[in-house]
Amino acid sequence: MKERLVQLEVLRYNPDTDTTAHFQRYEVSCPEEGVVLDALNKIKETIDPTLNYRWSCHMAVCGSCGMMINGEPKLSCHAFLREYDGVIRVEPLAHFPVERDLVTAPDDFIEKLKRVKPYLIPKAPKPISEGEYLQTPAQLKKYHRFTLCINCMLCYAACPEYGLTPKFIGPAAISLAHRYNLDSRDGGRDARQEVIASKEGVWECTFVGACSEVCPVHVDPASALQQVKIASSIDWIKEHLLPGGGK
């Protein structure tokens, strides 16, 4: 296996000893077909065991290893070394508070995720004896793309609106709300609309589209948010212009 010398410039921050973050340069030999995460693991194993970062699956499924690589939000297990020349700059995910080195605090995202109720809310309670909720392949197809989200938060790091207005509920959470709103088994849309059709919800989005560009699993959050805008606008017309609120 052909090896290559890789230079990484990693942002370091230890809250116990540092007042500000600083870059530290490392040089390691890695297989040419490796990824940035491999290089970080090699650094941790052979040079600097104090380096902190999150990772788990190494196959773009768990969504833990998101970081800024040369300024772009990427899963480090999905950032191939062969695509980079020279020194690779590795920083924690933008727009999230840094806990230590490349580890960020996801609390804001988790709180927003909870607010959009990302779970099935049945239209009416149904006893188990009546069997399962049936769904046709066409009904599944309507929302399937939006189920693929792995909560990696790359879309939040890419979104300039989230960076400028931290109250913005953001791409992944709104896409997930949309996923459940589109589900034929669900009846929770009204409750979710209260959150996502607000000013801090979908209307903070200006359709930059960076979320869809960085999404490693091609959820296409920008498209979900545009669909939410159309649906919310139709709601608004029904509520304000039709007699009886369009009900």
């Binding site: 400028l164 059709a197 805008k229 919310s232 606008s233 608004w236």
Partner: protein, 113 residues
């Protein structure tokens, strides 16, 4: 959390975006051809004037121009916001007023034909 009234602004913006995508490139091309002296028969001054003089023609021309102006004003406002210009209210007022002035002027000119 209250639902936003943003659809009042966003719906004509979205409609204008669609209009711009479909009509404006064609209008630019036709204007360019006309400027070079290649005016298709159906688009001669007399037939265009007759079209703009009819009720349906006025409505269509007004729809295309008004929605395009509104859409461009809102897109420019969003672009300013994305670039970090935080005086959103001021930017919005200036741009929407400019678009509004263009829309009123369009209506006035069309009614005078």
């Amino acid at each position: 959390m209250a639902k936003s009234n943003k659809p009042i602004i966003w719906f004509p913006f979205a409609a204008g975006g669609t209009v711009i995508a479909f009509f404006i490139p064609v209008i630019v091309l036709l204007t360019f051809l006309a400027a070079l002296g290649h005016v298709p028969t159906g688009l001669s001054y007399d037939s265009m004037r007759a079209f703009a003089g009819s009720g349906l023609g006025k409505l269509l021309i007004f729809g295309v121009i008004a929605l395009s102006l509104w859409s461009s004003a809102h897109r420019l406002r969003c672009t300013c916001y994305d670039f970090g210009v935080r005086a959103d209210k001021l930017v919005a007022n200036v741009l929407y007023l400019a678009a509004g002035a263009g829309i009123i002027a369009t209506a006035v000119y069309l009614l005078r034909i």
